[in-house]
C-alpha cells in the first residue's frame, strides 16, 4: 500500500519535472499585441497602409515646417523677414527669429529640424513598406508611393531653402542616417525634382479624398512648378503651372476673396484635414487677436504699407484691432479663431493664386509678356485692382514680386524665400531689420545635431 502511494508520488513529481525540463525552446518568443502591427503587416492591407500615410499628414499639420502653429514657418519666417512684428515674451525663441539673433542652440530650430526628418523617415518607411508589399493592389501601391514621394520632396524643399545644403534622405536605415553628410543645394534640388516627377507619374488625377486633404497629381505638379521656378527653369515652371491651371474641371478661380480659405474652395489644390471635426485652422488661432496689444505677433507696418487703400485684401485679409490710443493689424485670411459646429476652414498649403504668379514670372522671363500680365491680373482683379500698368519684362517681374508679397503673406515663408531667390534680401531687409546680416540667409543647423553627427559640419556661416 505504502509503496504504491509513493510510486504514485514519484510518478507525479517526475512526470511534472521532466515534461517541463524538456519544454521546447522558443518559449520566450511572443506574439505582438493587438495595439501594434509589424511594419510588414501594415503594408499588406490598404486600410493600415493608408493610416500610415495619413498619420504623416497629421504630423506635418501639427509639427514642424508646415504647421500652422507659431512654431511653423508661416509665423517664424514671417517674423524673420518683414511680414510680422513680435510682441510676445522677450525670452521666447520667437524673439530671436524676429530680431535675427538666432543661436544654433535655439530650441525652435531643433523642433523644425527634428520633426522634418521624422516626417521624412515616415515617408521613407511608407516607400520601403509599399515596395516590399506583396498584397497591396498596384493602384493602391502607386497612390501611396506617389504621396510618400511627394511628401519627401516637399519637406526637403523647405529644408534646403531654410538651412541650405542638407542631407537628402531616402532610407530608414538609422545607421547610415546617423552619419550622413550634407548634400549640395544643387543635388538636393535634383533629388526633389526627381521625386516630384515620379510622384506626378504615380498619382492619379482625382483626389483620394473628396475634401482635397490628400495630394493628387496636380498637387505634385504645383510643387514641381515652384521647384522649377526656384531652379530658374522658366519653361518648365510655366508648363507645370499651366498643367495645373488647365484642370478647369477640378479648379476654378473664385469670384470673391472671402471664401478662398474656406474648405470648399475650388482654388485649393491641397489642404490639411483638421484633427477634430469642428476644428478650424491653427493659423486662425494664432494670428487673430481680439484686444491689443497683441499677445504674440501682428502684421508689420512695412507689409501693411504695401497695400493700397483700394486693395480688397487690405480690408478682407487684414483686420485692425484698436484699444483707443493704438491700433494693430492681424492676418485675417483665416477668419475662425476657434472651433465651429462643423469645420469651415482648413489650412491650405497649395492654391491656384501661386500657380498664376509662378506662370506670370516664368512668362516674363521667357518673353511672353502678354501672358505674364494676364496671369498677374488674375490676383489683382480679384483684389479689386485694375490691370497692371507694367510694360517691360523688368517692370512685370517687379510687379509680380510685389503681388506675391501681398497675395501670399503669412503662408509658409514665401516672402523670405522670394527675397532670397531673387537676390534682393540684404538690400530689402536691412531697411526694416536692424540686426540683419547677410549670413542670416540660412538658419543655423541645430548645435546638438552637429555634436551628434560631426559629418554635418561645417555649420552655416555666421553662427
Amino acid at each position: 500500500m505504502k509503496t504504491n502511494i509513493h510510486n504514485r508520488y514519484a510518478a507525479w513529481v517526475c512526470t511534472a519535472i521532466f515534461s517541463l525540463l524538456s519544454a521546447c525552446s522558443g518559449f520566450t518568443d511572443v506574439d505582438l499585441p493587438s495595439s501594434q502591427l509589424t511594419a510588414t503587416a501594415v503594408f499588406e492591407d490598404k486600410t493600415t497602409a493608408t493610416a500610415a500615410m495619413l498619420d504623416i499628414y497629421s504630423k506635418i499639420r501639427d509639427k514642424g515646417l508646415l504647421t500652422g502653429y507659431n512654431s511653423g514657418l508661416s509665423c517664424q519666417l514671417g517674423l524673420y523677414a518683414d511680414e510680422l512684428t513680435y510682441y510676445g515674451n522677450t525670452g521666447a525663441s520667437q524673439a530671436n527669429f524676429y530680431n535675427n539673433t538666432l543661436l544654433q542652440t535655439n530650441a525652435a530650430l531643433n523642433e523644425l529640424w527634428n520633426s522634418s526628418y521624422n516626417q521624412i523617415y515616415a515617408s521613407n518607411a511608407v516607400i520601403e513598406g509599399v515596395n516590399a508589399s506583396t498584397a497591396l493592389a498596384s493602384a493602391d501601391k502607386q497612390q501611396l508611393l506617389g504621396e510618400a514621394l511627394f511628401v519627401r520632396a516637399l519637406i526637403h524643399f523647405y529644408l534646403v531653402n531654410t538651412f541650405g545644403a542638407i542631407p537628402y534622405l531616402t532610407t530608414t536605415d538609422y545607421k547610415s542616417n546617423s552619419k550622413v553628410s550634407r548634400t549640395t543645394e544643387k543635388l538636393v534640388y535634383e533629388q526633389i525634382k526627381k521625386d516630384l516627377e515620379l510622384a506626378v507619374d504615380l498619382l492619379p488625377k482625382t483626389y483620394a479624398a473628396s475634401d482635397r486633404t490628400r495630394p493628387n497629381k496636380f498637387a505634385a505638379k504645383a510643387v514641381l512648378s515652384r521647384v522649377y521656378l526656384y531652379m530658374q527653369l522658366w519653361e518648365e515652371a510655366s508648363d507645370a503651372a499651366s498643367a495645373v491651371l488647365n484642370q478647369t474641371d477640378l479648379y476654378s478661380w473664385p469670384s470673391s476673396l472671402n471664401t478662398i480659405f474656406e474648405n470648399q474652395s475650388l482654388a485649393t489644390i491641397w489642404q490639411f484635414s483638421p484633427a477634430l471635426n469642428g476644428a478650424n485652422t491653427y493659423e486662425g488661432n494664432i494670428f487673430i487677436f481680439l484686444q491689443g496689444p497683441p499677445p504674440s505677433v501682428a502684421i508689420s507696418q512695412d507689409l501693411l504699407n504695401t497695400f493700397s487703400s483700394d486693395d480688397l485684401r487690405k480690408a478682407q485679409w487684414l483686420k485692425t484691432v484698436s484699444n483707443g490710443s493704438s491700433a494693430w493689424v492681424h492676418a485675417y485670411k483665416y477668419k475662425r479663431q476657434s472651433n465651429t459646429g462643423t469645420s469651415v476652414e482648413y489650412s491650405v498649403i497649395l492654391r491656384l493664386a501661386e500657380q498664376y504668379l509662378i506662370r506670370a514670372e516664368s512668362r516674363a522671363h521667357t518673353g511672353d509678356l502678354i501672358g505674364a500680365k494676364q496671369d498677374l491680373n488674375m490676383t489683382r482683379n480679384l483684389a479689386g485692382l485694375n490691370n497692371t500698368s507694367a510694360v517691360s519684362a523688368e517692370e512685370i517681374l517687379q510687379e509680380v514680386m510685389m503681388e506675391r508679397r501681398k497675395e501670399l503673406f503669412t503662408e509658409f515663408g514665401h516672402r523670405f524665400f522670394d527675397l532670397k531667390r531673387t537676390g534682393s534680401i540684404d538690400e530689402i531687409l536691412v531697411k526694416t531689420k536692424p540686426q540683419w546680416n547677410t549670413t542670416d540667409k540660412l538658419l543655423p543647423i541645430p548645435e546638438s545635431e552637429l555634436l551628434l553627427n560631426p559629418n554635418l559640419n561645417p555649420q552655416n556661416e555666421g553662427y
Partner: protein, 1009 residues
C-alpha cells in the same frame, strides 16, 4: 509547440495540480486515522520550568517523537502532560536553549532553562531557492519577521521595513490611503528611473511591482497605485532582502536591484489555535507648515500692491479689496488636511494540525479613512490559507498557499494639501448658513466642490502557490513549485458637473467619467532537483532547476462624457459619448535554468557558487539569453580551535566575500520589434499608424557587477553582535535611448549604452543584548547605511538629451539649479550667479550648481524591552539628506497665495537683508527672479530628520485570569515624533503638494486559544 496548450491557460493547469493534491490527501488522511488506534500506557506528570530564578510561562513541553502530544507552561511556569515512563521531554522556548529531559518514571520534574543568545545564528534564512543557516550564509541577506511587522499599524508591507534594514531605502509616496512606496536597495543602478525597483517574490511567485492604475485616474497621488498594497502585513511571517551577488545571482537577470522575498504564514503542528486580533486607531498629518495668519498676509498683500504702484486694488483681489471679510482667519491646513483618519483592523486565524498535516486559515478586514473633509475610505478584505502535508515516511511533501484580497477605495479626486497651503487665510467660509457650498457671490473657488467627485477603485488580487517535493533517496530531492497570480483593477474617476462653480452653468452634459480597467495575470512553474551529501569533512549542497514564467497584462482607459443625470455616472452606457483614451496589452515570457553548489568544510570554510541562464521575451532573437553567476566564500574563524581556547570572548567570527553578476530586464515589452502603433491624433477623422520607434533588435541585458566584503562578529556568547559590509555595485551596458541625430527621424534608439553607474557603500549593523536577567530583557539593534552613487562614464553625454540631467562623476539623483547670491540691496530682488558672465541669466548656461538629493546616510535604532509580560518596542529612523524645502514651488510673495511664515522676513528698503525679496504682485523682474529662486539652491536645504517611526507597548494578561486564553493588549504608534530643522511640511517624503505620511496611533487586543 505543445507548450501553448498550457501557456495559454495557466488556470486550467493550476486546477489540474490542485486536483492532484486533493487526491493525494484522501489517501494520506486515511493513513493518519489508522495510526491513531495505536494506544500507549500513559500517566500524567507535573512540573515547573524556570530560568533559574523566575518561573517561565509559555514554554513548550513536547514528547519526543510524538509531537501531537504537547503542553505549554502556565503563568506560574507549571505544566502537566501525559507521558509513558520511557519518554523524553523536549523543552523549548524562544531565546532559551532547547533541552531534552528523560522522564525516567518520575511524576514531578523541575526544569531549568538557560538563556541562549546564539539562537539567532541558528535560524534558517530563506534565500529563495534554498535556505541557509544564518551563521553559514555567504551572502548578504537582511530579514524582518512577523514580530517586527506586528508592532506596526500600517497597511503596506513595505512600510514595515522602513528603518529596519541596512542598505534598504524606502520612501512613502504620500499619506493618501493605498499609495505606494519607492524602494531602493543599495542605491540607484539604472539611468532609467522606472527600472530601479527590486524583484518581489511572494512564496516563490514573482509579483510584478509595476504600478497599476492609470495616470488618468491617479491625479490624487504623485505615483500610481502599488500592487503591493494587496498583501496584508499580518499574513507575513518574514521578509528577506537579498542584496549582494552571492544572494541575488541565482535570480540572474532580475536581481540587479536586489530581491525582496516575502513569506506568508504557515500552519503549525500542535493543537488547533484560534486567534483574533482587533485594532482601532486614528491618524493625523505629522505636522502643519507654519504659514501666515490674516494680519501678516494682508499686510503682505497691501505692501505688494503699494510696491507695484497700484493704489486701486484690482477687482479680482477679493482678499484685500474689501470683498472678503478681512477679519476672518483660517488655518486652511486644519480645514482641509486636518481631519482624523480612522483605522480599524480585524484579523483572525485558525491554525493547527498533526505531525503530517498542518493548516492555516485566516481572514482580515481593514478600513481606513482620510484626513480630508468628506467621507472617503479605503477598505481591504481578504483571506489567506495554507495547507501542508507530508507522507508518513516524510518523503513526499506538499504545501499549498493561497490568498485573495479585495480592495475598495473611495478617495477624493485631488489632494487638498497644496490648496490648504496656498488659500488666503481670510478666504470665506466653506459653507453658507444653509449648509450649502459657499461661492461668496462667485468670488471664491470653493475647494470642497471637488468632493462631489470621487476616484473609486476596486482591486481584486489572487495569489496561489503549490510546492511539491519528493525525497528520492541518496540525498536527492525533487520538487516543483507552481504559482499563479491574477490581479484585476477597475478604477473610476467620477467628475460630475457639480465639481464646478455653478456660475459656469455646466449641466450634466459636462459630467465625465474616466474608467481604467486592467488585468495582470501570471503563472510560474519551477521544477527543481536538490542534492545534499556529506563526504568526510565536506558537506555538499547542490541544486539545479528551471523556471517558466508568463505574465500577461491588458489595460483599457475610457472616457465617458455627457450624462442625463449625475447619478448615472457609474454606468458608462448612459453617457452620450464614449471614447478610448488608451488601450494596451502585453505579454512577457521568461525562462531560466539555475543552479547552486555549496561546499561546507567542517562548518569553517564555506564556498557557494550560484548561477543562472535567463531568457526573456523582452529581447530580440539571438539576444534573449544571458548568463549570470556569482561566487561567495565565508571563513568562520571562530570555529578555529585556537580561537575557541584563547579568545573565547569572541563567540562568533566570520569573514565573507562575494562577487558576481546580475542583470536587469525592466525595459518594457516589445521594444525590439519593428512595429507601427496607433496614434491618438486624427486625420480625416481616422486614427493614424506611426512607426513606434527606430528598429533595433540588437540590445541586450543591463549587467550589474556586485562585489561585497563583510565581517560578522559576535562577542560574549553573541550578546554583542555586529556586522560590517563594504560593497561596490557597478551597472554597465545601460539600456537607454541612445541619443541620435535628428536625421534618423528619431531622437534616440533603445540600445545598450556604454555608460556605467557605481554604488559604493557601507552597511553597519549592531545588535546588543544589554540586559537579560530574571524576566527582564533589553535588546538594542542599530543599523547604518551610507552609499555613494556615481555616474562613472557616459559617452557623448554633452550631445545627448541627458546633458541637463546627469553629470559624470556625480550621483544620478541630482538636480542642476541656479546659484542664489542674495538680494540686490537696491531693488530687493533675488540675484543669481551669471556663470558664463554673459550678462544674462539663462537656464542652459547658468543652471550649473549641482545639488545631490541622494541621502548621505540613513539607518535605524531599535530598542526592545521586556519585563515579564510587558513589552516595549520602539524604532528611531534617521536620514541625513538634502531636499526641496518650503521655497520650492512657492508662488511669488505678494501674490494671492498664502506663504510660509518665514516670508515675513523680507526686503522693504535699501539694505534690508531679507531673506525674502520685496513683495510684489505683477513686477516682472521680481516674477522672473522668483521663478529662478524656485529653481535655485535656495530652494534646497537640509532635510535630515530623526523620527520615532514606531513605538509599541504590549501587555499580555496573566494566564491566572485568562486561563487557556492568551490575551495581549497593545498600543502602537507610527511616525510619532519628528526631530528636524526642515521647514517644509514633512522631511521624509519628496513630493510637494501631497499629503505626507500620517502619524498613526492604534490600540489593539489579541486573543488566542
Amino acid at each position: 509547440m505543445n507548450y501553448f496548450s498550457f501557456s495559454k491557460d495557466g488556470r486550467a493547469l493550476y486546477c489540474l495540480f490542485f486536483a492532484g493534491i486533493m487526491l493525494s490527501f484522501s489517501s494520506s488522511f486515511a493513513g493518519i486515522s489508522k495510526r491513531h488506534f495505536k494506544t500507549i500506557l500513559q500517566h500524567q506528570i507535573q512540573g515547573t520550568v524556570t530560568d533559574g530564578t523566575a518561573p517561565l510561562p509559555g514554554v513548550t513541553i513536547a514528547v519526543k517523537g510524538r509531537s501531537n502530544n504537547n503542553s505549554i507552561t502556565d503563568y506560574n511556569g507549571q505544566f502537566s502532560i501525559n507521558v509513558s515512563p520511557s519518554d523524553t521531554l523536549t523543552v523549548s522556548f524562544l531565546g532559551f536553549k532547547t533541552i531534552n529531559v528523560p522522564v525516567e518514571g518520575k511524576s514531578k520534574i523541575s526544569i531549568v532553562l538557560h538563556y541562549d543568545t546564539t539562537t539567532l545564528q541558528e535560524v534558517k534564512i530563506n534565500a529563495g531557492y534554498y535556505s541557509v543557516k544564518e551563521k553559514e550564509r555567504t551572502g548578504n541577506i537582511s530579514r524582518i519577521t512577523a514580530k517586527d511587522i506586528e508592532t506596526q499599524p500600517v497597511t503596506n508591507v513595505l512600510a514595515t521595513m522602513q528603518g529596519r534594514m541596512p542598505g534598504v531605502n524606502i520612501i512613502q509616496n504620500t499619506g493618501m490611503a493605498g499609495s505606494g512606496f519607492t524602494v531602493e536597495i543599495r542605491g540607484t543602478n539604472s539611468l532609467r528611473t522606472s527600472a530601479n525597483s527590486p524583484l518581489y517574490i511572494i512564496d516563490g511567485v514573482p509579483y510584478s511591482s509595476q504600478s497599476i492604475g492609470s495616470s488618468y485616474t491617479s491625479g490624487n497621488m504623485p505615483a500610481q497605485n502599488s500592487p503591493l498594497n494587496s498583501i496584508n502585513p499580518s499574513d507575513i511571517s518574514s521578509v528577506e532582502v537579498l542584496k549582494d551577488a552571492d544572494a541575488t545571482a541565482i535570480y540572474g537577470s532580475r536581481g540587479a536591484n536586489g530581491v525582496v522575498l516575502i513569506s506568508t504564514k504557515k500552519g503549525r503542528e500542535g493543537k488547533t489555535v484560534f486567534s483574533i486580533d482587533y485594532s482601532n486607531g486614528i491618524g493625523k498629518v505629522t505636522r502643519y507648515m507654519d504659514v501666515m495668519d490674516t494680519p501678516s498676509y494682508l499686510a503682505m498683500r497691501r505692501e505688494a500692491f503699494a510696491n507695484d504702484g497700484t493704489s486701486q486694488y484690482p477687482a479680482n483681489a477679493y482678499d484685500v479689496n474689501g470683498t472678503w471679510d478681512q477679519n476672518r482667519n483660517t488655518n486652511w491646513q486644519k480645514e482641509l488636511i486636518g481631519g482624523t483618519a480612522e483605522y480599524t483592523n480585524i484579523q483572525s486565524s485558525f491554525s493547527g494540525g498533526s505531525e503530517h498535516t498542518q493548516f492555516l486559515l485566516s481572514g482580515n478586514y481593514s478600513k481606513e479613512t482620510t484626513v480630508f473633509p468628506g467621507s472617503f475610505n479605503y477598505v481591504r478584505a481578504g483571506g489567506h490559507t495554507n495547507i501542508n502535508h507530508e507522507s508518513a515516511d516524510k518523503r513526499f511533501q506538499v504545501s499549498f498557499s493561497a490568498s485573495y484580497t479585495t480592495q475598495f477605495s473611495s478617495l477624493p479626486l485631488v489632494d487638498f494639501t497644496q490648496t490648504a497651503l496656498r488659500l488666503p487665510p481670510n478666504a470665506p467660509a466653506l459653507y453658507d448658513e444653509n449648509g450649502n457650498l459657499n461661492w461668496q457671490n462667485n468670488t471664491f473657488q470653493n475647494p470642497l466642490a471637488i468632493l462631489n467627485g470621487e476616484t473609486s477603485g476596486n482591486t481584486y488580487d489572487f495569489l496561489a502557490n503549490t510546492l511539491l517535493s519528493y525525497n528520492i533517496s541518496s540525498g536527492f530531492t525533487a520538487s516543483g513549485s507552481f504559482g499563479y497570480t491574477d490581479l484585476d483593477q477597475k478604477q473610476m474617476n467620477l467628475q460630475p458637473s457639480t465639481i464646478y462653480n455653478p456660475s459656469y452653468g455646466f449641466g450634466t452634459d459636462q459630467s465625465q467619467v474616466i474608467s481604467n480597467l486592467m488585468n495582470r495575470s501570471s503563472w510560474i512553474i519551477e521544477p527543481k532537483l536538490s542534492w545534499s551529501k556529506s563526504l568526510g569533512n565536506i558537506a555538499i549542497d547542490a541544486l539545479a532547476g528551471s523556471t517558466f514564467q508568463q505574465q500577461k497584462g491588458d489595460q483599457l482607459v475610457t472616457l465617458s462624457k455627457g450624462f442625463s443625470s449625475n447619478s448615472l455616472l457609474r454606468n458608462p452606457a448612459s453617457a452620450t459619448s464614449n471614447s478610448i483614451l488608451s488601450s494596451d496589452e502585453n505579454l512577457y515570457r521568461y525562462q531560466a535554468f539555475f543552479a547552486r553548489i555549496n561546499f561546507n568544510w567542517e562548518g569553517r570554510y564555506i564556498l557557494n557558487f550560484t548561477g543562472r541562464r535567463d531568457g526573456s521575451s523582452r529581447f530580440g532573437p539571438g539576444r534573449q539569453f544571458a548568463n549570470f553567476g556569482a561566487v561567495g566564500a565565508a571563513w568562520i574563524f571562530s570555529e578555529n580551535k585556537w580561537m575557541k581556547k584563547q579568545l573565547s570572548f569572541i563567540s562568533f567570527g566570520k569573514i565573507r566575500a562575494s562577487y558576481g553578476t546580475t542583470g536587469n530586464d525592466q525595459i518594457g515589452d516589445y521594444q525590439f520589434l519593428d512595429t507601427y502603433s496607433t496614434t491618438a491624433t486624427k486625420y480625416q477623422g481616422l486614427s493614424g499608424l506611426q512607426p513606434s520607434r527606430l528598429y533595433n533588435a540588437d540590445f541586450g541585458w543591463e549587467t550589474n557587477k556586485k562585489l561585497e566584503l563583510a565581517l560578522e562578529a559576535g562577542f560574549l556568547e553573541d550578546r554583542i553582535f555586529t556586522s560590517f559590509s563594504l560593497f561596490q555595485n557597478r551597472s554597465s551596458n545601460q539600456l537607454v535611448g541612445i541619443p541620435l541625430p535628428g536625421t534618423t527621424g528619431f531622437s534616440s534608439i533603445q540600445a545598450n549604452l556604454d555608460a556605467e553607474v557605481q554604488n559604493r557603500g557601507i552597511e553597519f549593523m549592531l545588535r546588543t543584548q544589554n540586559i537579560q536577567y530574571a524576566g527582564f530583557k533589553w535588546t538594542t539593534s542599530f543599523n547604518l547605511t551610507s552609499i555613494k552613487n556615481e555616474l562613472l562614464s557616459f559617452p557623448r553625454l554633452e550631445a545627448s538629451t541627458y546633458k541637463n540631467q546627469f553629470v559624470i562623476g556625480q550621483p544620478l539623483n541630482l538636480t542642476k539649479v541656479y546659484h542664489y547670491t542674495g538680494l540686490d540691496p537696491l531693488t530687493g530682488t533675488y540675484q543669481f550667479e551669471d556663470v558664463n558672465k554673459d550678462g544674462q541669466i539663462t537656464a542652459t548656461e547658468d543652471k550649473k550648481t549641482i545639488k545631490n538629493l541622494t541621502p548621505k546616510y540613513y539607518g535605524g535604532l531599535q530598542n526592545h524591552f521586556q519585563y515579564h509580560n510587558v513589552e516595549l518596542d520602539f524604532l528611531f529612523q534617521f536620514v541625513k539628506q538634502e531636499s526641496f524645502n518650503e521655497n520650492y514651488a512657492n508662488p511669488m510673495p505678494g501674490t494671492m497665495s498664502n506663504q510660509p511664515i518665514g516670508v515675513t522676513g523680507h526686503w522693504q528698503q535699501e539694505g534690508d537683508p531679507g531673506p525674502y525679496q520685496g513683495y510684489s504682485v505683477t513686477n516682472s523682474s521680481r516674477t522672473t527672479a522668483n521663478t529662478r529662486f524656485i529653481q535655485s539652491d535656495a530652494s534646497i536645504s537640509d532635510a535630515s530628520f530623526i523620527r520615532l517611526k514606531n513605538i509599541s507597548l504590549t501587555y499580555e494578561l496573566s494566564k491566572k485570569w485568562t486561563k487557556k486564553v492568551t490575551c495581549r493588549l497593545s498600543l502602537q504608534g507610527q511616525n510619532v515624533l519628528t526631530f528636524t530643522k526642515y521647514k517644509g511640511i514633512d522631511p521624509e517624503f519628496r513630493v510637494s503638494g501631497y499629503v505626507p505620511p500620517l502619524k498613526i496611533y492604534t490600540s489593539s487586543i489579541q486573543l488566542s486559544f
